[in-house]
Amino acid sequence: MLRAIGLGVVLFGFWLTLSGHYTPLLLGFGVGSCVLVVYIAARMEVVDQEGVPLHVTGRFFSYLPWLMKEIFVANVEVAKVILDPKLPISPRIVVFHGSQDTDLGRAIYANSITLTPGTITTGVAGHEFEIHALRAADLETDEQQQMDVRCTRVERGRRERAS
């Protein structure tokens, strides 16, 4: 129930940022629309820990700048590879261990891996992440370790331990 209200508030904020017209009529439509959407979302059973991840939002936004920096660095690396006339690639599929306990955390980690060019998540099963890497040498870096640690931190906060 609390999550449904949270989703409603977030959606209304989304409406306000999109709208730009603050007349009573349109605000009324906004409230009505939010209620309708929350009702449909509840029917679809998407209003839960994963669908409305309000508990990780704050931590996720503090993780985002680091991720963007990583994406930029990886982009430059891959750009160098592509523009190299010899095309120095050695693609292979490897399996990583991820320390996330919930599906939400796994999804964040898997998507972070995919977003940084050079690595793509091809499958997730429990703690195992199957990854296609453009260059095997890229995998043995601290960044990959750090990404795992940081995603787990997003999932459950710095001090909280998994129960």
Partner: protein
Amino acid sequence: MDDRVILRVGAKILIPFILLYALYVQFHGDYGPGGGFQAGVIFAAAFVLYALVYGLGNALKVLPPRATYACGALGVALYLGVGFVTMAMGGNFLDYDVLAHDPTHGQHYGIIGVELGVLVTVFGVMVELFYAFAGRRRLDP
């Protein structure tokens, strides 16, 4: 083990925002590109995404085919209803000016009603079409 984690979580987060965006497009037709048809398509797209990720069975539970038929009819009824209300109030069919004391407001309310009808019909028919296609299997598996 369900290995569709990424799709499932992504769709879950995305669907409410797509639905709300559709309604935003619906009600801001006056101010930018948008209106009933586009909104209906986006609204239906959210259901299509849901059906693709969670399976047709779940989608049919959320929105049974009977409801989509009803949507298709209801929208047309709404459209016609606005027309008949204007006639009852002494104007021509879909002559919005008579809906309020001020013709401009009348136009406004009339168009909102008609666009809502378009949204409901387009949404119903789009989802109905998807259900019809999704029920078919490819012949060479």
